[in-house]
Structures are given as C-alpha cells and as structure tokens.
C-alpha cells in the first residue's frame, strides 16, 4: 500500500508541474505586457480581450491564426526534436530559409507540365538540402565535439547571406523587381483551405508532422533512446545507445522538418522565395518548443498561441494604435521565463531530494 502511494504522488505532482510549467512563462509575459500597457495608459484587459477576439473571434480570424501558426508547427518540432536530446540546435531558422529557397527553385524551374508532382518534388528537395545543412553541425558535434550552438548560429547567417545573394542575383525575378524569385507554377502552389484567408494545405502537413512526432517520441525505440540521451548521456552510453548516432539522427530529422516548413511557407504562403522570407520563425519555434516542453500537444498549442499573437498583433495595431512590438515583448519574455522555469523545477527537485 505504502509503495503504491509513493508511486502515485510523484505522478500527480509531475502533472501539476507540467501544467504550471506550460502556463507560467506565458503568465509572466502577460504580466510584463500588462505593465507596458498600463504605462501607456491602456487597459490591458481590454487589449487582451480585443486580441483574443481578433485571433479566435470568427472563422476568418481563426483561419488567420492557424495560417500564422503553420510555420511555427514545423520550426517548433524541428527545435524540440533536438532539444529533447540535449542538442542545442539554434539553426532551424537557417535550415527553414534554405528549404524555402530550394522548394521555390523546384517550383519555378521545372516544367509546369509536371503539375502536382512538383509539390512532393519540392518538399523532398527542400527536406534533403536542409537535412544536409544541419547534418554538418551534427557531425561536427558528434565526432569532434564542436559546440553546436555557435556552429548552427553561424550557419544561420551563412544561410541568410547565400539566399540573399541568390534572390538578388542569379534567381532574381525579371518582372517583379527587387529581392524576390519568380512565382512558382500554379500547379506547385499548395491549396488554400478557406479561400479568403491564406490558410493553406501546409497547415495539414504541419499537423500530420506533429502527430508523427508525438508517436515517434512515445511509441518508438529511437524516440525513446533519443530522449534518454537528453536525460543522461552517461546512462545512455552505458546501456548501449550510440550518442554520436543519436546526435546526427536528431539533427538530420530537424533539418528534414525545417526544410519541409520552408517548402510549406514558400509554396503555400508566398508562392515564391523573397528576401526576409522568415521573420524569425526559427526563433519563435524555439519559444514554442520550450513552452510546449517538447511535447507534441504542447507544441501544437504553443504554435497556435504564437500564431494568434502574430495575427492579432497586426490588427490590434490597426484598431487601437498599440504598437505591434507588444508581440515581440511577449515572445521574448516567454523565451526567457520558459528556461527560468526549468531552473526553478530543478531547484525544487534538489531541495526535495536532499
């Protein structure tokens, strides 16, 4: 009896911790945003309810929110897949941009007669190139212990440089002026799900990936092993899990998902590649992964939440002239407090353990 009780209790408190963990950073962010709003003499509750109405009020607004959440589904998973193995990959942004360019390239160079086969080709090419892109820092980390934070961060800037050069030079559209590639063929464009809004089929791909990610993390040996590597490297290698293989695997998977995210954004949203392709989807994806604690459902909710913020932010600026930057303030605070919370939990554990 006593034993079952001790097994039950940590379970319950674990769930409680998880719940608080999800809500805490966001509550702090709302608090910070409220303070800012109070400072400028706005009623935070009014602003937040307006934002809520603007992101979930009508079917059209919900579609806009989900549309804004689409790239974040991809970048959230791509980040989480590495974070849960203790690999600090901050290169999702660069891989997404590279993937977007590759998909657009397939979309406008191959003959239009190939019709819908263009879409899987574009996704596949983007996934492969982005996977190779992140394979490099993965191998460097696995074999030579090259710090992955710095290498992936640097690769982001290299990605911006290369794509920026290509859209201003060799791949520049001849008809539409600056910094954009030509439009992809109509057949290569992803279908819009609710026509007036920009919500496109890429959202469904993203949701499918979230489900696959959830199954992979919970039901497959490699998903389990990679989580174990994140928990304890020494234990993992003691039970025979190859740490270098795991590192390379999660980096390549992260690249595949980032590349598909880029393809989805290029073929579904912009229908081309443009300079400034991503306003930091990779970094917001990091906030999403942290907020969702690398959990599939958590990532989905986190992505929708940030999508809502982004879609509400633009309209709130129109209606109440509250600067759009309030969204960045919330996002930054969430990122900071998402990791602060991790620290608090380990402190609590240590105290209760010792």
């Amino acid at each position: 009896m006593a034993e079952t009780a001790t097994i039950d209790r940590p379970q319950l408190s674990l769930w409680l911790e998880k719940g608080i963990g999800l809500a805490f950073p966001f509550l702090v962010a709302l608090l910070v945003a409220s303070l800012v709003l109070l400072l400028i003499g706005e009623n935070p509750i009014d602003v937040f309810s307006l934002m809520f109405a603007e992101s979930f009020g009508t079917q059209r607004r919900i579609a806009a929110t989900l549309s804004a959440a689409t790239p974040l589904l991809f970048t959230g998973i791509a980040t989480a897949i590495c974070f849960r193995s203790g690999v600090f990959n901050v290169g999702v942004e660069g891989a997404l941009v590279i993937g977007g360019l590759c998909a657009a390239f397939i979309g406008f160079t191959l003959p239009a007669a190939m019709s819908v086969t263009l879409i899987p080709l574009a996704f596949g090419f983007a996934a492969i190139v982005s996977a190779i892109w992140l394979y490099i820092p993965g191998v460097l980390l696995a074999r030579y212990e090259v710090d992955e934070v710095v290498s992936t961060l640097m690769l982001n800037f290299v990605a911006f440089g290369i794509t920026g050069y290509l859209v201003n030079g060799p791949l520049l559209s001849e008809i539409s002026g600056n910094n954009v590639t030509p439009l992809v063929h109509e057949a290569a464009q992803l279908r819009r799900l609710l026509p007036p809004s920009t919500l496109h089929a890429g959202f469904l791909v993203g949701v499918a990936l979230v489900v696959i990610y959830g199954i992979w993390t919970r039901r497959t040996p490699s998903g389990f092993e990679s989580a174990l590597v994140g928990q304890s490297k020494r234990f993992s290698s003691a039970v025979g899990i190859s740490i270098p293989t795991t590192i390379v695997l999660v980096m390549v998977l992260s690249g595949v998902i980032s590349g598909m995210g880029g393809a989805s954004h290029a073929l579904g949203q912009l229908h081309r590649f443009a300079d400034g392709f991503s306003p930091g989807y990779g970094f917001t994806g990091m906030a999403v992964a942290l907020l969702g604690r690398n959990n599939a459902l958590g990532i989905f909710l986190g992505a929708v939440l940030f999508g809502a913020l982004a879609s509400a932010g633009t309209t709130v600026q129109l209606f109440s002239d509250i600067p759009l930057d309030i969204v960045n303030i919330i996002e930054g605070t969430v990122m900071i407090f998402a990791v602060v919370e991790l620290g608090r939990i380990t402190l609590l554990r240590r105290r209760s353990g010792g």
């Binding site: 290498s151 800037f157 440089g161 930057d325 309030i326 960045n328 919330i330 900071i336 998402a338």
Partner: protein
C-alpha cells in the same frame, strides 16, 4: 586616396565590433557565452541618441549608453546565475525582448517606425589637431578619430594585463575555467559572473553608442545589423585573447569597409558578409579536429 579611405573606414567600422567583443570575451572567460550582445548594442545606441539630444553632451550620452547596456547585462546575468536559466535561450529571448521594447517606445513615444531622428544630437568629437590631417595615408583616419575608438584600442592593450595580473581578472578566469577551484578559494562564482556580464553589457553599450554617434547621429532599428553576433564570432575566432580578437575585429571591419568596393569588382556583398561566420566555422572545426586527434593520441 583609396587606401586612405579604406583605412579610415575600416578603423571606424571596427570600433563597435571591437568594443562588444572585448566585453564578450571577458564574459566568456567568466564562463558565460553572451549571445545577447546585439540587444545591448541596440539599447546603447537608442539611449545614446536620446541622451545626446536631451543633454547636448556626447560624454553623458556615451556614459548613459554604457550604463544602460550594463544594467541589461546585469539583469540577464541574474536570470542565468540566480534562476538557472539556460544562457543561450535566455540570450536569444533577450534579443527579441529588447528589440520589442525599443520598437514599442519608438512607436509610442516618438511616433515613428524604425528610425529615430532627434534635433541637436551631439556626435562624437574629432579631437586631433588639424595639421595632422595632412599626414599621408593615415591623415584621413586621424581626422576621423574620436575618443571611443581610442578608448577601444587602449582597452585592447590593457585588458591582457587586467586579466592576468589583477585580482578580479584572476577571479573571472577562475570562475570560467575552473569553477571548482574558484569555489574552493571562496570566490562567489555568481557574483563574478554577474560582474563580467555587466562588464560585457557596458562595453556593448559603448559599441552601440559608437554606431549611433560616430557619424550618422540617429537611431535605426536595424542599426546593429547583427554586429553583436559578429563580435561573438570575433572572440570565438580569437579564442578569448584580447589582442588576437582585436586583430580579428580589424579584419571584419576591413571586410565591412571594402564590401561596397568589392561589389563594383563583381563580388556580391551578401556573400562577402558571410565570411566572418564561415571563418568561425572553420576555426571551430580546426579546434575540434585538434582536440580529437590529441585525445586519439593520448588514449
């Protein structure tokens, strides 16, 4: 003539990176990889323009920028050392947060999106006597020399001594390189790290002030253009040694200065811009490969 211009431009463009890199390397010696240098530079530039316009004094503006940077750095450090936050994520979050705050203030208080142009912004003074401007080759660079550039290079020369021979320098290095030893010596690692992060913020703030006040005298949201990350690249490549890092900064400044000229020679500036980051990747690979081989030999 062209040589004069390149020397002058390289020197000017090096200073902000150099200041931030000096702060960042001290921070990294103390065990914190400061990924939020860019945020502090941006904040420094913003504060510098506002204070310079309000007080009519460049020195106060520079000081205020440095203090603003140090304050943000200190808060960032508290999050890391007291609340055990992961420094990379917190740093990236801080970059987003600070950019958001500045954009918000810019939009709300000054009713402008992106650029802040204020009246009577005092720029950094050129202080050398005019007869020196006629010196061949370096004359142009001398004519544009201002106090912050001089201060940055003095720091480069003094910092090795400070790190090697003073108590606080030793504390910082001990905290970063041998935390157990530091603890055994009774050094409070957290306080030392807080100090080193505030120090990095102070210098990044100075770098930001230089960006805003050296020549243009206005603030723009894209003013730093990732220079905080270039500074990070510089001290990674310079392996946290002040003089080596300064030379790397000079190289990056030179690349920045020659970008436009290279464009006319047919080299795309966007690709030239990736050179600092590629250099760091190569340096990391070489260092990793060396470690790997050393381990293979010893085992």
């Amino acid at each position: 003539m062209i040589v004069d211009q390149i020397i002058a431009a390289s020197l000017t463009l090096t200073t902000p990176i150099l200041l931030a890199a000096m702060g960042g390397l001290v921070n990294r010696q103390g065990g914190i990889v400061n990924i939020a240098l860019d945020a502090k530079m941006l904040a420094g530039a913003f504060v510098a323009v506002i204070v310079s316009s309000a007080t009519d004094g460049w020195f106060i503006a520079v000081l205020a920028a440095a203090i603003a940077g140090a304050l943000i750095g200190y808060l960032y450090s508290l999050v890391i050392t007291r609340a055990n936050a992961n420094m990379i994520v917190a740093g990236l979050g801080l970059n987003v947060l600070v950019a958001g705050m500045i954009g918000f203030v810019l939009n709300w208080v000054y009713d402008s999106s992106g650029t802040l142009r204020l009246p009577d912004v005092q720029r950094l003074p050129k202080f050398l006597p005019e007869f020196m401007y006629d010196i061949p080759v370096v004359g142009l660079a001398l004519s544009e020399l201002e106090p912050l550039t001089v201060f940055a290079w003095i720091t480069v020369l003094v910092l090795p001594f400070l790190l090697a021979n003073t108590r606080i320098g030793l504390w910082i290095r001990a905290t970063g390189n041998a935390p157990q030893v530091a603890r055994a010596m009774g050094i409070s690692g957290r306080n030392v790290q807080d100090f080193s992060t505030a120090f990095a913020g102070f210098f990044s703030g100075l770098g930001g002030a230089h960006l805003a006040l050296a020549s243009i005298g206005l603030f723009n949201e894209g003013l730093t253009a990732g220079r905080g990350f270039i500074a990070l690249a510089a001290f990674y490549f310079g392996r946290d040694r002040p003089i080596a890092t300064a030379l790397v900064c000079l190289l990056f400044g030179f690349l920045d200065a020659t970008q436009i000229r290279m464009q006319t020679a047919g080299l795309p500036p966007k690709l030239i811009g990736t050179i600092p980051y590629l250099m760091v990747l190569v340096a990391l690979c070489i260092a990793g490969w060396r470690n790997h081989r050393r381990k293979a030999v010893s085992s």
